[in-house]
């Protein structure tokens, strides 16, 4: 099984990194890196002056934490777009582009096919985001001379878990449809409209923080620097990093999304007919 996994993985990875989608995502990441680098260099030491007076409490925070928070805030959105490019059409495209007739008649378990393709999509996402991480390291090091290694590594670890979760979630949607467009739209609408509206509604109506929603959990990537959740209208802003409880909770949410989504995808794909 493991040797077939690597064959499938490398086969799909080749198709991903040679694709136009990969280069589009790479260009988007480079643009985001350039803009955030510009912000870092241009406004270092002046960040507090840019904060509106109503958020005066923020002015007490150190420059670097705020800059790292901003880098991480943008970084937490990148996997969502990458997964829409790489993972949302992962299975639906096999049906729509009729490659399923070839791949599903190969002597390999369908679960291995899904796993191989899933890890290839995750790898392609990581590679595309790597540019942004390198730009962040260079910019922050250049401006501040050092980086908060522990928080930085923790943020990256959470990002990694988030990439696994959002990719698995996108795979699940992809397994439900036979048209790429439906898979793209469903992933986007669920993440950016349903999750965000549910998150806000639950908080405003019931003061309930819906920690189990993927978009809410993803904020841990930036909250390891400053504990501000940008998906909620929280009035009591904490300038401290998120506590260990929050980190474990978000990590658990990522792991659960990954496992449950993949198990459901396996279940669907085993029964999938190629029409």
């Amino acid at each position: 099984m493991s040797s077939n996994f690597f064959k499938v993985y490398s086969h799909y990875l080749k198709n991903y990194y040679r694709s136009r989608s990969f280069y589009i995502i790479l260009i988007i990441t480079i643009l985001a890196s350039l803009i955030t680098s510009y912000l870092t260099f241009r406004y270092s030491g002046k960040i507090n002056n840019l904060i509106p007076s109503k958020f005066s409490s923020l002015s007490k925070i150190n420059d670097e934490s705020l800059i790292l928070y901003l880098w991480a805030y943008i970084m937490s959105s990148l996997p969502v777009f990458s997964s829409v490019f790489f993972s949302s059409p992962a299975i639906s495209s096999e049906m729509e582009n009729r490659t399923a007739f070839y791949i599903f008649t190969q002597p390999v378990d369908r679960i291995v096919l899904v796993l191989g393709k899933y890890f290839a999509a995750v790898t392609a996402t990581i590679i595309s985001i790597l540019v942004y991480i390198i730009a962040e390291l260079i910019s922050v090091e250049a401006v501040y001379g050092f980086i908060e290694v522990n928080s930085f590594m923790l943020s990256l670890f959470m990002l990694l878990l988030f990439i696994f979760a959002i990719s698995a979630f996108s795979f699940l949607f992809s397994s439900l449809f036979e048209k790429n467009m439906y898979a793209y739209i469903s992933t986007f609408v669920t993440y950016f409209i349903i999750f965000y509206s549910a998150n806000i509604a639950l908080y405003l109506l019931y003061s309930y923080n819906a920690f189990f929603l993927l978009n809410n959990a993803s904020t841990i990537i930036e909250r390891v620097y400053i504990n501000i959740n940008p998906t909620l209208f929280v009035s009591n802003i904490s300038l401290n990093p998120a506590g260990i409880h929050d980190i474990i909770l978000s990590g658990t949410v990522f792991v659960l999304y990954t496992i449950v989504s993949l198990l459901l995808t396996f279940f669907i794909i085993e029964r999938k007919e190629v029409k």
């Binding site: 077939n4 064959k7 086969h11 080749k14 198709n15 040679r18 694709s19 582009n97 009729r98 490659t99 399923a100 007739f101 070839y102 599903f104 008649t105 190969q106 002597p107 390999v108 378990d109 369908r110 029964r271 007919e273 190629v274 029409k275």
Partner: protein
């Protein structure tokens, strides 16, 4: 090596794509499935290859249910179902290498195998191009080459000459003939071209509206006899197809023909009995009838 379909029924929603199909293919050779569009030819192949699951019935290859151990069965099979597509950014050689590696072929043997199948299918010249640049015919040749990888015991080809130029079609037919020369494989292929079926096949199955209307050996150890006349009873022990109210085709072993003639004249008012020289005409007649029905 045998393929057995037991009471297989396949529906797409309410549409009955395959009626109750009972079929056994155990002799090596070429089995051609003929039929008009929508007859169920491709559905039958999808069911045999495990791409589609029937609502009822079982498909067994060498006694193993395809849905019980799909991987093991696909290891013995080479398939080309529908007009296949491949990943745009992958090269033809990489597709063949991938298929070969999944069949456990590696190293020098893998290179030799790619060489063998690409020469056989005339795809050597374009193997190092990305598939996004392939024409329909190139993709079809690559699909056949991928199906041939590993010299499978069972070869399933859905309209293999589709999209290929006339010269290429001839080459594919020659290839099928060569593959069949040692009678070591079961080769099932679908086609609309009657001449192709007659020239290549050891057995011809005609499907119409999801049912088998005709299933007979094409020459070989059986002789096909066309009976015209009214049969009060059908002689038992012979495979037959009723092609019209007073026309039947029986499969009879050469040495049993005199006995068959005696039996059939006892149970019917026979106008005439013709030998297998009528096969082509009969298939044409059936196909025309089927096309009109569809």
């Amino acid at each position: 090596m045998d393929i057995t379909l037991k009471s297989v029924e396949k529906y797409y929603g309410k549409f009955k794509a395959l009626g109750t199909i009972n079929l056994k293919i155990s002799d090596p050779g070429i089995v051609t499935i003929l039929g008009p569009n929508g007859a169920g030819k491709t559905t039958l192949l999808k069911v045999i290859t495990g791409l589609s699951k029937p609502r009822k019935g079982h498909i067994e290859i060498d006694g193993i249910d395809i849905f019980e151990d799909r991987k093991k069965i696909l290891m013995k099979m080479g398939t080309l179902v529908e007009q296949p597509e491949f990943y745009t950014y992958i090269k033809g050689r990489e597709i063949l290498s991938f298929s070969a590696s999944l069949k456990g072929i590696s190293g020098e043997k893998l290179k030799a195998e790619i060489e063998r199948v690409s020469i056989a299918t005339g795809s050597t010249n374009f193997l190092d191009k990305k598939i996004g640049k392939y024409s329909r015919g190139m993709k079809q040749r690559l699909g056949i080459a991928a199906a041939l990888i590993g010299d499978p015991e069972i070869l399933i080809l859905d309209e293999p000459t589709f999209g290929i130029d006339p010269m290429g079609s001839l080459e594919i037919r020659e290839l099928l003939k060569n593959l069949n020369s040692r009678k070591e494989k079961i080769i099932i292929f679908t086609t609309h071209v009657i001449e192709e079926a007659i020239k290549l096949s050891d057995r011809i199955i005609i499907l119409n509206n999801g049912s088998i209307e005709y299933d007979a050996s094409n020459g070989g150890k059986y002789t096909l006899l066309k009976i015209s006349g009214k049969l009060r009873d059908v002689p038992s022990g012979y495979k037959y197809t009723k092609i019209s109210e007073n026309e039947y085709i029986f499969e009879v072993k050469e040495d049993e023909i005199p006995e068959f003639n005696r039996k059939v004249t006892m149970v019917g008012d026979i106008e005439y009995i013709e030998k297998s020289s009528m096969v082509e005409e009969t298939i044409r007649k059936l196909s025309t009838k089927n096309l009109k029905n569809s």
